[in-house]
Amino acid sequence: MTIAGIVTEWEFINPHPQIYFDVKTETGEIAHWAAELLPTPSMMKNMKVGWTRATLKPGDQIVLVCNPPRAVGAKACLAKELKINGKDWPVAPGGGGAPGAAKGKQ
């Protein structure tokens, strides 16, 4: 599933970093979502693409490709791909590429 939203909070913590974000629904309401990233913070630092506690900040626009939650209608997912303010950011070690690199190179 692909979902877009506005970041409200970024937790760069063990065991898995988390993004909290707001999604505008078709009816114009705001839905609060959460996404988990699989690597640990140190693994993400070792990717050497710029992951830090300050990589995301409230107000950033994100687009996520996620594994959908197990429960139907739940607003939490596991992130597989991430775009921050229009730039791709690798979310898995070995993905390679710097932020903004073409999707096919990640």
Partner: protein
């Protein structure tokens, strides 16, 4: 660490390595960082486990053992439930204990244990939780169950049986699971671990648990295989603690939400 000499010849003023003997190793030196390379992250490759079932069987439960097994709700394996409604001790940062720590079940690169040998003790350090365990090798006897309080990692002594390092343990806290599939044990479990350094880079471990309250006969694990990781000690410590306050927050805001519980965001 002993090293066998390289076999080399000199020809036309050029050193040519025409054959290389397998590097030597001390079978009584188990020190180093070891990463699990065998497939199974559970105590044993039971029939309900991951992958092939050939040559395997379900745990030999007693009635009590089976009842306790049914009460455990794992997030992995054929009985997996969404973690939000499970009761895996890992989900609340409770200690994993022995033998679950030995399964090194946490995903790469965290499926590591380091063994350090010092006079009178062998110490195992586990990446997950930054947990550690002492195995006394000073010749003391294993205490009786009445002499020790149950503990997460038990009470252990070790000795060499030829090239096999044999660890005997008692006194386990029965709140821990044997593995991520939720297999139980009682406080009266006795555990024997047999470690053998197969070669310079490979360590084998086979475990046998005896727990008549939970299993009708001694239950033997599959053979765990670990490969040495010489790069690990060169990297900065990751400090993969499970922090209860962070886990609690994660459970409320992500795990429970994904599992269909009311949003706490």
């Amino acid at each position: 660490m002993r090293w066998a000499p390289l076999v080399a010849i000199t020809a036309a003023s050029t050193l040519v390595v025409c054959g290389q003997a397998a590097p030597g190793f001390d079978p009584h030196d188990l020190s180093g960082h070891w990463n699990r390379s065998s497939r199974f992250q559970t105590f044993s490759n039971v029939w309900s486990g991951q992958g092939p079932t050939q040559g395997t069987e379900e745990a030999p439960f007693t009635e009590t053992g089976k009842a306790r097994f049914e009460k455990n709700k794992p997030g992995y394996g054929p009985r997996a439930v969404p973690p939000a409604i499970g009761n895996d001790p890992m989900g609340t940062c409770d200690p994993l204990g022995i033998p679950r720590l030995l399964n090194t079940e946490v995903i790469s690169p965290h499926q590591t244990m380091e063994i350090v040998q010092v006079p009178g003790r062998m110490i195992q350090f586990f990446e997950w939780h930054h947990d550690w365990r002492e195995i006394f090798t000073d010749g003391r006897k294993l205490p009786t169950a009445d002499e020790v309080e149950p503990s997460w990692n038990g009470t252990s002594i070790g000795r060499w049986d030829g090239d096999v390092f044999v660890v005997a343990s008692i006194g386990f806290d029965d709140r821990t699971w044997l593995d991520k599939f939720g297999y139980p044990h009682s406080e009266n479990m006795r555990l024997e671990e047999r470690y053998r350094r197969r070669d310079r880079d490979t360590l084998e471990l086979t475990m046998t648990l005896t727990d008549p309250e939970t299993y009708t006969r001694p239950w033997v694990s599959d053979t765990k295989i670990f490969r040495i990781d010489r790069e690990k000690s060169k990297r900065w410590d990751e400090q993969i603690y499970c922090v209860p306050t962070e886990e609690y927050k994660f459970n409320q805001r992500v795990r429970d939400v994904a599992g269909g519980k009311e949003s706490k965001q």
